[in-house]
Symmetry: C2
Amino acid sequence: MKDYIKHDEWNIIEEGFDPALNCISESLFSIGNGRMGQRANFEERYSGDSLRGSYVAGVYYPDKTRVGWWKNGYPEYFAKVLNSANWIGIDIEIDGEVLDLASCKVKDFRRILNMKEGYLLREFTAVTASGKEVKVRAQRFCSIVDDQTGVIRFTVMPVNFSGEIRVTPYVDFDVVNKDSNYGEKFWDEVARSVTDEGGWVVARTVKLDFHVATGMKYVIRKDNNQINLPVLRIEKNKYIGNLVSVPVSAGEELAIEKYAAVISSENHPKDTLKSICETELTRIAGKGFDTMLKEQKAAWELKWEESDIRIKGDVSAQQGIRFNIFQLNQTYTGEDERLNIGPKGFTGEKYGGSTYWDTEAYCLPFYLSTADQNVARNLLLYRYKHLQKAIENAEKLGFTDGAALYPMVTMNGEECHNEWEITFEEIHRNGAIAYAIFDYVRYTGDHQYVIDHGLEVLIAIARFWSQRVNYSEAKQKYVILGVTGPNEYENNVNNNWYTNIIASWCMEYAIDMVRYVREHDEGRFIQLAQKVKFREAEEISRWQNIIDTMYYPTDEEKGTFLQQEGYLDKEQILVGDLPPEHLPLNQKWSWDKILRSCFIKQADVLQGLYFLEDRFDEDTIRRNYEFYEPRTVHESSLSPCVHSIQAALLGKKEKSYELYLRTARLDLDDYNNDTEDGCHITSMAGTWMSVVKGFGGMRIKDGQLHFNPFIPDQWESYSFKIRFRAWLLKIIVAQDKVEIENRSETPVIIYLSGKPLELHPLKTALVPGH
Amino acid sequence: MKDYIKHDEWNIIEEGFDPALNCISESLFSIGNGRMGQRANFEERYSGDSLRGSYVAGVYYPDKTRVGWWKNGYPEYFAKVLNSANWIGIDIEIDGEVLDLASCKVKDFRRILNMKEGYLLREFTAVTASGKEVKVRAQRFCSIVDDQTGVIRFTVMPVNFSGEIRVTPYVDFDVVNKDSNYGEKFWDEVARSVTDEGGWVVARTVKLDFHVATGMKYVIRKDNNQINLPVLRIEKNKYIGNLVSVPVSAGEELAIEKYAAVISSENHPKDTLKSICETELTRIAGKGFDTMLKEQKAAWELKWEESDIRIKGDVSAQQGIRFNIFQLNQTYTGEDERLNIGPKGFTGEKYGGSTYWDTEAYCLPFYLSTADQNVARNLLLYRYKHLQKAIENAEKLGFTDGAALYPMVTMNGEECHNEWEITFEEIHRNGAIAYAIFDYVRYTGDHQYVIDHGLEVLIAIARFWSQRVNYSEAKQKYVILGVTGPNEYENNVNNNWYTNIIASWCMEYAIDMVRYVREHDEGRFIQLAQKVKFREAEEISRWQNIIDTMYYPTDEEKGTFLQQEGYLDKEQILVGDLPPEHLPLNQKWSWDKILRSCFIKQADVLQGLYFLEDRFDEDTIRRNYEFYEPRTVHESSLSPCVHSIQAALLGKKEKSYELYLRTARLDLDDYNNDTEDGCHITSMAGTWMSVVKGFGGMRIKDGQLHFNPFIPDQWESYSFKIRFRAWLLKIIVAQDKVEIENRSETPVIIYLSGKPLELHPLKTALVPGH
């Protein structure tokens, strides 16, 4: 827990330079545009603690799986997010002294992430060992308009001397990852070129042969006048740079504008990378920094128009929620259905891979409500395109006949997690992928998606479950043995209630959708049935039989579902009864002790009640919530949001707000002491959900929008916008009223606290006294 | 499964050179003396497939644990058995052509492991590319008399030419392990010295700073006359050698005798290694090869006198059992209580570490019956000396108050396995360590051991169990959750019957021994109680309460114990119903599928019935055996022996013999296609048990020896010797009679098939018609 970020509604602000906080700030002040991203490393050299990170979407390294003893079915590799070329680098030497904040005296240091306009600004005054003082200002962003580029304006002004400043903008592919064996490097040079105006390096990854061209152009100005001085071209393996020595007088401002392009073979043929790189550089340098920044601001304005949440009366909450929305928008734009939302986005390399079930369970609702329908649809298509790999993944484990098991984490559809208890057993992820189709269709009404793509995925998932269950003669029921539920503080349990019910639900939904598609587009149905060799009568009958005979562990006495068989054999202690110094368990207890305890990492039974809320009455939800929440340590960043939403539903407003606070500023306050590794991107969507589904009580029922809002006592008001089908609505919840604005040109009926409310086009409805 | 080893009663013989079998033969023909060991690599250079292996007892490398995600309590390292200096190397060049069997034509190749006399012999004729033919004979052994030394006599005779043969005996520490990252090396040179007569290299391991001095001396003879020729001294980093060019005529025999000493800092101060190495070399070269060989034969004769099993009428079985006994005696001599029995002994590097519960559960009975009592006692002392580490290991997992959890595998008492499901959960190993004390005392009558050392271990183990259980309110019983039983084809199960019963047994035995020690040596008891802060009344009362209230999963209907809770929820299939191409499961099925199946790797419930046989009636054992054995795939080399013994007990003679056969020639016939990695040393003791406890029906009851022998139809007779307390007995079982010879000077009463039989000193009792 830290508290060094200044509270501000639109900006993330750090004042004063504390090297001990640098890695945290590098994560927090990261910039990205969905295609590339960059931690807030310094442009100039820095010899202090730093995690260098420059990431290119889709580019990874398949590292050897780390296992004690290899066993059949283990994944072949785990995907490492690669640190790519350093394109921000600008070495500065002042009369022969390197500008390095680790060795200079630093004054008036200020770092600002301007979320409204989408740029990073850093200002400081540095005093070198010999006493020379310079004022520096560095502003940069990854353009969301020209999404293969980034630009920097870096200015240096001598304060108390006149002298020579040597400036070396460069591109360097000779970079390392934090997570690597024996300092191995992951990039080999393919080609490089340097002129007096800049240059480029094309490098390839040592495995999988991704190629990336990273190039730069630069302009040097003195007091705003472009200057031309002799240039020393520097080139070495994987590196190009231009050294320029500039005589500068005290008070004169030396400015370097650096234009960078990052062109990946994921988007262009390998042999075109150099020329595209050069073209892009010429184009953006032609636009110039100021124009690009203006375009950036305009583009971010549009994003905020759709996705902002406004909280009045609580600057800290306002900053927290905007930071989350900002990072989500920096991470995923929905323009490329091959991409997805990595757990750290572009803010760090930890967790590797890119896509967990987080996307379907936590991120999809955010993009459904705040972006064009195609963005969410692309998230579904991502899985659709991986279906064949998911079938192969299941085959490796012995499943047959087109059964699909989606990977726990993936870059390209292949499993690339590292632990058997997860890859083999945390199979409920398959449920989230089916559920996302349901969620998407429920929200958008886009049934055509089921016909075109969804049903094929649903059949493959239903097939998986129908093979993964087995019939227990002892119980005379279908059981699912050896699974890991969402609560990863258990492993290899039998009959995890959540897994059993989501499995059963998947088969039900698949049966429904089989019938829907056959009814609405028989030609397509027949074609699909042939393609996947669907034995309709036989398969549906088996699915139905399993649905009807599935075993659900329950505690009849308490009226609760049992997280898994035997859960009540554990010693029952509540989190509140633990001495505080035992928390967080994952730092204080051995893994063994955690596994044997009754403590829960994140919603498990409650995750099922959240997904399938319509099927359970409030009392059932309440009994389970009241049993499980006090046993939950919320040590996954994905945990509090589901509980916050459920607490809101149950009228536990204080608890709902308390749980919301646990993630709202998770990274900004470095709540878990791990922000230095990167930000918790996927949980940010959960925070958004806490506000919209929790406080706002938003639900879709029978194709219609419902709200059941409340407002935390601590706030004056909050508002959020929702895209829903043809409509854009803005909901403002104040202490004494709710206002709902229909920003669309057609009327719509929504339900407020269960009562229908007609919203007229371009009008606001005000409901007082709520 | 292979069948290339010639059947012979006393020798392991390979005829003809097949490079594809070389790595297997390198394992099979390994030599060792408990202190050092050497795979059957060639002395001369060999560019074909080979696993180089020269091992020094106790010297290892703590490699980084390989885990996907580190969690608290995971072991810090896994111990790698290190390939140490090549001391056998003798490069041979024939008129400039390197002698290398990978590039020569090879004729009359023969490799013999003479088990009776304890040496390895290799003979062949090689024809070089240019057509030069040489006859070679190489004989070597690791001396069990001078156990820091090995010697070689290597002879070369030109057949069809006269010319110059260059001979380079050397010592080389620049060696690699098969299991290493990026070819890293584990030895750094400390010092080296070379003279015309040989030299030495001292090297240190890159971690833990083990030092080893390996030196050599050599003598060159031509037709048995020592010759002196100019010597070229060769030295480079980690290497010394002597090159001698010898003119040899056709038919003349050139002989190199090479004396090697391997002196480890495990046994001597580091600064003395060089001088001890030189002294040893001078001493053994003084003795000479022939004398050393004579001493070797005499020493092996003594070993065989104690441990031989003689099988008449079945050469293959005879060879198999002698090979097992030979390897066990090569691996562990019992002279150093810091050493133990690695799963591969000195025959390979696989599995790392040194000590599993194999030692207590499978190896102890062999050494108890075939060696001095001190040998078995040293195996117990090994664990006694590791008690503090076992307490620390338990503390890492959150246990307190002197509870001890012995490691799953260790070199020095620290856990160095790699998988949480084993290190955290396969805790039944603690039971085997307590059981070994019981087994030792039962066999030897050495109650003093309990007083001096055993009780301290037993209290610490009982404390562990008393903390590891928890009281289930739901069951109103004590339960043990989250364990892995001996059947490693399950993981993280609840209430594994074997674990529960061995835990309970440990507490019972600890209570008994507390009472025994207090009664027999109260002073010592008080001293120990103070040392370990034993709260006698309170702790014993808790233990007794757990013993009385332990939960044991059972199937009342079938009258069987349940391997674990929920075992009957699994799909029940028998091994016999599986298509043969599905076996072995561990090569054909994914780990996931194995875990979810009902199939059993090795005795689990039956292991409990084997250990605690006296507590169960034969019908109970039969019902469980008949339920579990058909579900057991015996994919651990430790599995068949327990089943074979139990089948014998139940009168299932054919089955007993069939199971015996599965391990008797496991390595010789490369049954599991893995002998190339090394031999299955610990399972060899299990094979010995199959004969003595299975066929021979040997048991100790109330301090007295019982036999209940039968003989497989395929055999004429078999005999084995047993040391039992003051007595040495020889038991001969033929088809029509049993003879028991009392080789001691005092009479003894034993029980044959339940009837007492008095054995007079130095007399043989004959019981016909058995």
